[in-house]
């Protein structure tokens, strides 16, 4: 199968977007990045993604716009694999993430290697 896969990374820290997209890019994996929920949602409206790595807190405030991104993605592209990566720990958030339909939950810090392994499981690599 020689298909190009498209991966979305959403995080409000440019450094993270840079490091993780550099690490995860591959000849057959195209990566799009978004720093805000709005950016992420307009990308979702335009492009079809095979997987998305989504941080929950995107503005540095106390709101968690990541939820909106996940909801939007689930509504538009239900087959997209969603990996939530958050610096917030806790069973409550983990449970909410699962209930919202995300497939994987990671707490920061998580190595890009680990994310790649998971994406490989889902046939992205």
């Amino acid at each position: 199968m020689n298909m190009v896969r498209r991966l979305l990374i959403v995080d409000d820290e440019p450094a993270i977007l840079f490091a993780f997209s550099q690490f995860l890019k591959a000849p057959a994996v195209l990566i799009e990045t978004a720093e805000t929920a709005d950016e992420a949602m307009s990308l979702i409206n335009r492009l079809s993604f095979d997987a998305a790595i989504v941080d929950l807190r995107l503005t540095g405030a106390t709101t968690l716009e990541g939820w909106d991104v996940i909801r939007h993605l689930k509504g538009k592209q239900s087959l997209c694999t969603i990996l939530v990566v958050t610096a917030f720990g806790g069973d409550e958030i983990k449970e909410n993430v699962r209930r919202l339909g995300a497939d994987y939950y990671f707490e920061k810090p998580v190595s890009p290697e680990k994310l790649k392994e998971t994406l490989t499981l889902k046939g992205i690599y």
Binding site: E13, A19, A87
Partner: protein, 483 residues
Amino acid sequence: MHAGFESGYLETLDITWDDTERGCGPTGTAIRTGKPSKCRNMLIDPAFAPWREEALRRGYASSIVFPLMDEGKAFGAISIYSNEPDPFSDNETKLLAELADDLAHGITALRLKKAQALAEEALKEERNFVNAVLQTTGGLIVGLDLDGRINIFNHACEKTTGYTAEEVIGRKFWEFLLIPDEVEQVKAVFKGIVDGSIPAESENENYWVAKDGSRHFIRWANTALLRDDGTLEMIIGTGIDITERKTMEELISLKAVELTTANRELDAFSFSISHDLRAPLHVITGFANLLLKEYENKLDERGKDFIQTLLGEVDRMNKLIADLLHLSRITRQEMQRTEVDLSAAVEKVIKDLQETSPDRRVETVIHSGVRCHADERLVYIMLQNLIGNAWKFSKNRECGRIEFGETIEGGRRAYFVRDNGAGFPMESAGRLFTPFQRLHTQEQFEGTGIGLAIVKRVISRHEGSVWAWSEKDKGATFYFTLD
């Protein structure tokens, strides 16, 4: 009572005053009818048949009976017997009847006097009792007439207000005992009770001002004393001085608000600590991994080792943050005590440890059926740390050994976790449970120094204690109590 020649006759009589055969003799008739009654000749009077034999045996021939009357009712009778038939003339009968009446009056008067004396004695006793209660009770008791004038002011009232009963009796209570702000409101309650718009059996709270100006917050239970005709006679208020309680309540509710705020702030603080400290670690992890990947050919083994060290430190920092959050959560989490199977919990912890390091050989001895009444989640976290330590510090033994059980220490039920690990010098035992205190280097045994602080907090929250015993290189035993 009897006089004269009787010879056991009265014992045989069995007289009644109902309408039966034994009720129709002279005595029964006199009592029943309230009129004198005669048996002129016992020998021939058919109504006397039941007693004839016994009477004749004693030589009686006739009898006359006078009822003893009180307010138209007979309460007894006087019977006169004679050895002759029909011995009483009309005049004699009249005289005897008057005598019986006088006797009846005399007896009635005596009885009344006795009853009055008894009633007075009872009343006096009751009054003494009520007075003793009134004056010795710690509760304030005040009696008010319908104008609000004080007519009872017990010792507790005197003690609380500094006024003597003499000083206040006859004065309207609202003229000097209330604080200005409450006069109208308390007067309204009082007038409501008097005019019946507020039930007399009511409760209210208001201040009383003592003679020295100090204020006392009093909780009152009111009741009304009624006259026989049902009209209101006076109002009695029974009060407790709850000034101290009220102050405490206000303080407690203030503290509760402060605590909630502090907890909320702490929550927010922990939340942002968690987020803001972890996010940079995520960046470091990302770049370190990127470095390893993109510069793989340019980095020699030493360079790669440096990066691995970097990642190891990121890992340690991350654990530290997790432990800190854990510690703060344990302090604030609500406690819910239930029956906890400690043996089962210990087994589960050990099973998890064995799964994470399958190569370790550890012999375990777990006393079965050890139970306690505790918060299950907190106790589990505590055991994870305590058993985790035993596991960690016995890693250099060819075969580690961990024992869990129940024992009696100093007369109290205690639980213990024993290992055959590195142990610690007893002189350092005091520092064991302090956060970030480590008795070993990272090279010897990795750790954050939070584990035993968590253990200590869980146990403190259960109002238990924890202590340890060890000898260097001879293992350690941790004892704890939970209730």
